[in-house]
């Protein structure tokens, strides 16, 4: 299932106002690493339905969000809970790393 795309406005509402546990991948269309990581998240998404939100931000469409989080490259997966940034995974990551990080964030 494709990830729901966030823009600057929906990012504020979902991440900060709703305060739901979630992850957001910052990616770029022509980034080859992103092309490998996004499907990993798409496959994982159903396992976490109603528990963790899965979203993505296209950094070329929303440069401000990319800059705001002082990200130096893509892909980057940012984890949030209770309206607070929790952790980040950068670069090429596999399914196990994402699962471990989600567990860590949910337990914290």
């Amino acid at each position: 299932m494709p990830l729901e795309q966030l823009n600057a406005k929906s990012f504020e509402e979902i991440i900060y106002d709703n305060e739901e546990p979630c992850l957001v991948i910052f990616s770029r269309k022509d980034c080859h690493v992103c092309k490998n990581v996004v499907p990993v998240l798409e496959e994982l998404q159903p396992q976490y339905q109603d528990r963790v939100g899965f979203y993505y931000v296209d950094v070329e469409e929303d440069k401000n969000l990319f800059q705001r989080f002082s990200l130096k490259g893509v892909p980057q997966i940012l984890f949030f809970k209770g309206g607070e940034y929790q952790a980040k995974l950068a670069g090429a990551v596999d399914e196990d790393k994402v699962i471990d990080k989600i567990a860590e964030v949910l337990e914290s």
Binding site: F69, S70, G73, G83, G91
Partner: protein, 682 residues
């Protein structure tokens, strides 16, 4: 040996960069009344000066003040020392373990005197003795207490108005105020993951530096010079939409809202804009989130608020941190707002407090360590509204903290240092004369900022006047003064790295060239016979000693003669630039000989000095400024309302303190007590 003390309690009030010449100008203007009281009650030279050690560099001079030894003897000859591995690199030096002379506080504590050493930027940290009488706070960098280890977030300007449609965060923008802090062209870098950019603070005083890693900085041209770098303000900018408040638990009718971002952009703090009873918007209230009942802080227009504690999110971990904030602008109809928030200091960071419980005591009884501001430079708006008031607030916090500790801890000897004047000097003293490079700035405005920093210092000193009535002896002194430069100088004598330009022109340093002929930041060691590093040192690239040495030791003497001759002949705008140049062995006459002083020690001549650190300690500049440091003393054991004609050398201060408190001289002391100002004859 046993010596009778002339006083039971002695306080050193160190003010980094305090210049007696410009001080006299301000005393004559009547704007330093507290200092005048100290002078009237004590002793000094008529000109209030003492003869500073060479080089006129902070850690070198504070170490001389602490040991009574010249820099050549104690071995702390700059912020950095030469890397043992490479001539073009330096390593961290604000480490007491590098000091080869005994510190006076080791003597006082050994004699049973309870001693506090507070942010003394020369051979104070790590603590130099395990004697329980010794208490030490920081000293690992010159700026302010905990600046090097507790910073969690950088300074920000937040601008909000109804035209902004999207929340934007831009880290460390250069000169953003010139456009009213509005971001119009944010070009995001969307490369794949790369190395993070280097932070100068981290590079110079961070963990890696403190554990001995090499720092390699080349002064290739004017853009690498500190006076150019420091005059350009950098800070984070947040642009926020501004609208009617919606979805709040506690927002009054008519309130408006905008958003502040902290923690490098990852934490959001919703903020209300509020009306007063006359219907005018005059304050803002910052909340943790919209559900919160009470704000973190309420800011009124134009008033700086300090000691604000809020959580900073650092890599997902929340840490309480202290900030100052100021609402800079707010339109009466609430449609436009601008505010400054300081950097954030971790309130629990106690690794540079010995014993650690000192921090808890200060935080609980005075308040958390306050941050200062490091944005100002050529931006007069920021210097006036933010930079100067932030330092004033910090100075007052420090005075309160010291008075609290003095009152409750029975200290008998207290060494202190404040960096307000020096920090300001590096930012904008050179703008107090109209140099061509900064023709768009106003010298008179900047002269008045110098005045403000001395008024601030006078206020700080005034907080300790009452101690004279409580049996304390007080010394007011500096490491060096600060001059207003007469000229934009060539690149030699810059303390922040390896100076390339002049040595390259003279043919001694050769840099590698790229394929396009562009000079690279890499030394061609096969062609380089000598380099100039740090403030005043030239090293021969010597075979058998240096990693890439090409000069035969048999040729060293003649090469030194040639370099010195070329330095004296060097002309910039038709003028000689070098004041003195001498071999290491001869530099003993200046106290700058020995293994940490290069093969040749040189000074930049009067007229080409930047601020301090490159010339003699007697050089003078524009606006009645000089590099001489101030000295005066008052209280028990010191003659009242007395002037001496004695030349007071920096090495004389430590033995004078030793005499006053009745302890032996520090082991490597090379000075003599200032007998003339003491009440007892010796």
């Amino acid at each position: 040996m046993k010596r009778e003390a002339l006083t039971q309690k002695l306080l050193v009030l160190g003010v980094d960069g305090m210049d007696p010449k410009v001080t006299r100008k301000f005393l004559a203007e009547g704007i330093m009344p507290n200092l005048q009281k100290f002078i009237d009650k004590g002793s000094a030279r008529e000109d209030l000066s003492h003869l500073g050690a060479l080089p006129t560099i902070t850690p070198a001079c504070w170490t001389t003040l602490a040991t009574g030894a010249y820099p050549g003897t104690h071995g702390i000859t700059c912020f950095w020392r030469q890397s043992p591995k490479s001539l073009d690199a330096v390593v961290y030096n604000m480490d007491s373990r590098n000091c080869e002379a005994e510190q006076l506080w080791n003597v006082t504590t050994e004699a049973g005197l309870k001693t506090l050493v507070w942010h003394w930027p020369g051979s104070a940290w790590p603590p130099t003795s395990d004697n329980p009488n010794l208490h030490v706070v920081d000293g690992t960098q010159p700026g302010s207490v905990n600046m090097g280890v507790a910073q969690l977030d950088w300074e920000k300007i937040i601008a909000a108005n109804e035209e902004i449609t999207e929340l934007i965060y831009a880290p460390k923008l250069e000169r953003p105020a010139g456009t009213g802090c509005m971001i119009s062209d944010l070009s995001a870098i969307t490369e794949e993951e790369e190395e993070p950019a280097t932070d100068m603070m981290e590079l110079w005083y961070g963990e890696a530096a403190m554990t001995g890693s090499e720092i390699r900085e080349y002064i290739m041209g004017p853009e690498n010079m500190e006076m150019v770098i420091e005059s350009i303000p950098h800070y984070d900018v947040v642009n926020s939409p501004l609208k009617n408040a919606e979805g709040w638990a506690a927002a009054p009718a008519d309130a408006k809202e905008f958003t502040i971002l902290t923690s490098d952009g990852i934490v959001r703090r919703p903020t209300l804009i509020l009306k007063n009873s006359d219907g005018i918007y005059d304050r803002i209230a910052i909340y943790k989130n919209k559900k919160a009942e009470k704000p973190i802080v309420v800011l009124e227009l134009g008033k700086m608020v300090s000691g604000i504690v809020d959580d900073i999110n650092k890599e997902g971990v929340l840490k309480p941190a202290c900030r100052s904030m100021k609402l800079l602008e707010l339109s009466t109809d609430g449609t436009a707002v601008k505010l400054w928030i300081s950097n954030a200091l971790d309130i629990a960071q106690d690794k540079l407090w010995h014993p650690k419980e000192l921090l808890k005591d200060v935080v609980e009884n005075v308040g958390p360590v306050q941050p200062v501001s490091l944005v100002g430079g050529e931006d007069a708006y920021l210097v006036e509204k933010v930079y100067e008031p932030a330092w004033d607030s910090y100075s007052q916090w420090q005075a309160k903290a010291l008075n609290h500790l003095i009152k409750t801890r029975d200290y008998q000897v207290v060494f202190t240092h404040l960096h307000n004047v020096d920090c300001a000097g590096h930012m904008f003293w050179h703008l107090a004369k109209n140099l061509e490079r900064w023709s768009y700035t106003d010298p008179e405005v900047n002269q008045n900022f110098i005045r403000k920093f001395y008024i601030q210092t006078d206020k700080y000193l005034g907080e300790f006047l009452h101690l004279l009535d409580e049996g304390w002896t007080i010394m007011i002194l500096a490491d060096h003064g600060l001059l207003v430069g007469e000229e934009f100088p060539p690149q030699i004598g810059e303390y922040g790295g390896m100076n390339v330009q002049v040595m390259e022109e003279l043919g001694y340093t050769v840099m590698k060239k790229g394929e396009n002929g562009k000079t690279l930041k890499e030394v061609d060691w096969e062609k380089t016979t000598a380099v100039q590093t740090r403030s005043n040192y030239i090293y021969i690239n010597l075979k058998g000693r240096d990693a890439h040495g090409i000069v035969d030791p048999a040729d060293k003497y003649e090469l030194e003669r040639k370099i010195m001759s070329d330095l004296y002949s060097y002309r910039y705008k038709g003028q000689r630039v070098i004041g003195l140049a001498m071999r290491n062995k001869d530099a003993v006459v200046l106290g700058t000989n020995g293994p940490q002083c290069g093969d040749i020690f040189f000074t930049v001549d009067e007229g080409f000095s930047r601020l301090h650190g490159d010339g003699l300690s007697t050089v003078e500049g524009a606006f009645d400024t000089s590099v001489a440091p101030i000295f005066l003393a008052a209280g028990n054991g010191i003659k009242e309302n007395f002037k001496t004609v004695r030349t007071i050398r920096q090495v004389d201060i430590a033995p004078t303190i030793a005499t006053l408190v009745g302890v032996r001289m520090p082991a490597h002391c090379e000075g003599a007590p200032i007998y003339q100002i003491l009440t007892e004859e010796f």
